[in-house]
């Protein structure tokens, strides 16, 4: 890898003919570095796939619908070795394309997509080859959307806050308090809607703590986020130990959301169970993506919010109240993280246990940065993470030769690769994390 950055910059000299002008010269140092590291990374993965080729035997089968579906779709059978080999070649070609630097316009994006798909398909073909059970594609996709739900909501919370210039490392803490509030309220009232309302309220309250200390008291926002996470862990843990634990039948047995199939749409083969046979929280998450996009890019408030995050002084000069807009942004973000927190209790298992969000808030934060502070991209990154988590748990049932602990590490390794290799230096909103004082 170290050789990749050793390329001498090609300086145009007097002898160069104008028509021989090399366009790579116009590529910035950072862009070239990002391109080369992406290329090397894709090549390395391609080589790994080529190695896997030698351990592939038999036929890989992918079941498009699960065994209980009314309309049975065919199970696709692919020759294992051929598929892996083909994917490895595609990967190597894409990597070579990146390294050559001759990809222009949309070509790098397409090459990146091809490489990503090839890696996924190749790896799955290798894992499923020669197994008794087919790889359940429908489960995989439905599980992806389900697992990604809190991540999408958390990422949207981060996007709204950070576009206004308030870094939100406290998503984890907001999740945890909201999850606790939802379980407690749900257990007492036995109502999902009351639980959701309590979760949103808890998320907004934690967001208010963040806003108060970040905007009014100008505390370093990353530090603040870490402290709020600790506070949330301590508060929920203490209340759980002191109040809930001794009385868990009354206070910790919340209702669990059931999947609500949408009439007609849920009957579409493959797509129906994935998108239209989910819980209300999943629908809310998908709707939230559109809402946040619309708020940020199609309303006056969103324009002001982005202005405050990029250049607060300019916004202030034209009469926008920087602090008010930031307060609003952080509180609106709290709504989404509150909904996301509800997922961990009433959205999935009903009961609360200490620190049950296990770092999902941080992964949502990673999705914000990987998604370049854009709601749709950030949600896509959350889905990517959900996909890898779901794949790891699906593969465990297939008895792959890889130890299960390594499969569970897969999402985290994939995130590092995505952050380091494919995304590289990202630029957030210019005033992100900078308190504003007149």
């Amino acid at each position: 890898m170290s050789a990749t950055t050793q390329h001498e910059p090609h300086l145009p000299s007097l002898n160069d003919e104008p028509e021989q002008l090399d366009f790579t010269v116009t590529e910035s140092r950072d862009a070239r570095r990002a391109r080369l590291s992406s290329g090397v990374l894709i090549l390395v993965v391609g080589v790994l796939l080529a190695v896997l080729f030698f351990t592939t035997t038999g036929i890989s089968r992918f079941a498009l619908s699960d065994a209980f579906a009314e309309v049975q779709l065919p199970t696709i059978e692919l020759p294992g070795r051929l598929t892996v080999a083909l994917c490895a070649v595609l990967c190597l070609l894409a990597g070579a394309g990146f390294l050559s630097g001759r990809l222009r316009g949309r070509a790098p994006m397409i090459a990146g997509l091809v490489a990503g798909l090839a890696v996924t398909l190749g790896f799955l073909a290798w894992a499923a080859a020669g197994k008794d059970l087919p790889f359940p594609v429908a489960n995989q996709l439905a599980g992806t959307v389900f697992t990604a739900t809190p991540l999408i909501l958390g990422a949207l919370c981060g996007v709204v806050g950070e576009r206004a210039g308030v870094v939100n490392v406290a998503i984890e803490g907001q999740f945890l308090t909201a999850a606790f509030a939802a379980a407690l309220t749900g257990s007492i009232t036995k109502s999902i809607w009351a639980a959701l309302f309590a979760a949103v309220l808890a998320g907004v309250l934690m967001a208010a703590v963040l806003a108060l200390f970040a905007i009014k008291y100008l505390v370093d926002q990353v530090v603040l986020g870490v402290v709020i996470n600790l506070l949330a862990s301590g508060l929920t843990g203490f209340l759980f130990d002191q109040l809930v634990q001794p009385n868990s039948r009354a206070l910790n047995s919340g209702p669990v959301m059931q999947a609500i199939p949408i009439p007609l749409l849920a009957d579409i083969p493959l797509l129906g169970p994935v998108l239209f046979q989910q819980t209300i929280l999943v629908y809310l998450a998908i709707a939230s993506i559109v809402v946040v996009w619309w708020l940020l890019y199609r309303t006056r408030w969103g324009l002001r919010l982005r202005a405050v995050g990029e250049h607060p002084k300019a916004a202030d000069t034209v009469g926008i109240s920087v602090k008010a807009v930031r307060w609003q942004a952080v509180l609106v973000g709290g709504i989404f993280s509150g909904l996301g927190g509800a997922f961990f209790t009433v959205g999935s298992i009903g009961s609360f246990s200490k620190d049950l969000t296990v770092g999902n808030g941080f992964i949502a934060l990673a999705a914000v940065i990987m998604g370049r502070w854009h709601p749709v991209l950030a949600a896509t990154m959350a889905l990517f993470f959900g996909f890898v988590v779901q794949m790891a748990s699906q593969l465990q049932t297939l008895n792959t030769p890889v130890p299960s602990q390594f499969l569970l590490m897969l999402p985290y390794i994939a995130t590092i690769i995505a952050v380091a290799g494919l995304i590289g230096r990202t630029r957030g909103p210019a005033a992100d994390g900078v308190p504003y004082t007149k």
Binding site: R33, K216, V227, L230, F238, F406, Y412
Partner: protein, 393 residues
């Protein structure tokens, strides 16, 4: 004369600033204890129920609240500093906190946010424990090799983050978080392999580390590791204030562009800082793996061996304002809260999690001197400038 006067003035100013810092920290601690007391009473149905009589018979609720709070806090105090045994327990709890706090603080000074002390401590504990139970070495050498192995493992784990940051620009916050999970996964995996799993056991637990690789005990729970931690703090202080590397760490932390323009190698500084920070956090893992527990022998490697030291370390570094001496004091304070919290849990039946709330509140109040000034007006804390990360110091 004028220079002497100016110097005296500067000293007065400095002393006043320091006094204010101390006063704020003290006020923050008192405020945190107050909020903790309110929380304790509100969460106890017996005490909270008495408050219905607040206006008819005020002695009832106030007496109940006072009894509740004073029992809990006196148990906390006694468990932290009440006896030589308690002090020794505090020192044992503080040692890993100090090391990991230094790991976070050192990275702060270079402008890097090292959330990965947890993962670095985990790999440090894996390496140290393995050398401890697998290699048959003579007494002193065994301990030294085990400590070095832990330092090296942590250093590599942190160095990878620095390398990725310097080479690809990957955000260190994300990478360290992910490296924490990966370290946890590696630990879970090695404990299932023949090299690590105790023979004849099915659960993930390693063989015991023999006495030859353990930190020798000096008095009750006080062991050599505590002095190693203090030594590490002195070394970091020297590194930051007296060495060329420390100067470039602080310069990069203050302004990487200016440091780069001035000819410093920002990439190399980033990598070295993260590797050093990783080694320090690895040392915290070493303390967990080789430090004797209450029964005199080190706890064998399990999945929860290092606890949450890497995350507690962030608050230690913040409260210590990323300065080595401050980190030692903050580590002792939180070590005391930990060991006292255990006593509070067993004596006063107040959950240990209360100490987490206290830790968070202390740092929150310290970070917001204006709030402290509003609540405690005579402190004149409004003028105080607080930089918890010390990055611009």
């Amino acid at each position: 004369m004028t220079t002497a006067n100016a110097r005296a003035d500067r000293f007065t100013q400095w002393a006043r600033g320091r006094w204010r810092e101390w006063a704020i920290t003290l006020a923050a601690f008192v405020l945190a204890l107050l909020v903790g007391a309110i929380l304790m009473c509100a969460a106890d149905p017996d005490v909270a129920g008495q408050f219905a009589y607040l206006f008819t018979a005020p002695a009832l609720p106030l007496g109940a609240a006072w009894a509740k709070v004073s029992t809990a806090y006196s148990a906390l105090l006694a468990g932290a500093v009440g006896s030589p045994t308690a002090l020794a327990a505090t020192s044992a709890a503080a040692a890993p906190l100090i090391c990991a706090g230094l790991a976070v603080g050192l990275a702060f000074r270079a402008g890097l946010f090292n959330i990965g002390a947890q993962g670095q401590a985990i790999v440090g504990s894996i390496a140290a424990a393995w050398v401890g139970f697998a290699l048959p070495l003579p007494p002193v050498i065994h301990l030294v090799v085990a400590v070095l192995a832990g330092l090296l493992a942590g250093g590599v784990w942190g160095g990878v983050v620095g390398w990725l940051k310097a080479r690809t620009g990957a955000h260190e916050v994300i990478v360290t978080i992910m490296m924490n999970y990966i370290a946890g996964g590696v630990l879970a995996w090695v404990l299932t392999t023949d090299a690590f799993q105790r023979p004849g056991r099915d659960d993930p637990i390693s063989p015991e580390v023999p006495a030859s690789a353990a930190f020798p005990r000096l008095y009750e729970q006080l062991h050599l590791g505590f002095f190693v931690a203090i030594l590490a703090a002195v070394a970091v202080a020297w590194l930051l204030d007296r060495s060329v590397l420390g100067f470039s760490i602080r310069a990069v932390g203050a302004n990487p562009h200016a440091a780069g323009t001035a000819g410093m190698n920002v990439s190399a500084t980033t990598i070295i800082t993260m590797a050093t920070a990783g080694a320090l956090a690895g040392l915290a893992g070493v303390m967990a793996a080789l430090g004797p527990s209450v029964n005199g022998v080190p706890v064998p490697l399990t999945e929860g061996l290092v606890g949450t030291v890497g995350f507690d370390a962030i608050t230690v570094a913040l409260l210590g304002r990323s300065r080595p001496l401050g980190i030692v004091l903050a580590g002792l304070l939180f070590g005391g809260l930990n060991s006292g919290g255990l006593a509070m849990q067993s004596v006063a039946q107040t959950p240990l999690t209360l100490t987490l709330v206290l830790q968070a509140l202390v740092v929150l109040f310290v970070a917001a001197p204006q709030l402290v000034a509003t609540l405690v007006p005579f402190l004149n804390a409004r003028k105080a400038k607080v930089s918890l990360t010390g990055a611009d110091a």
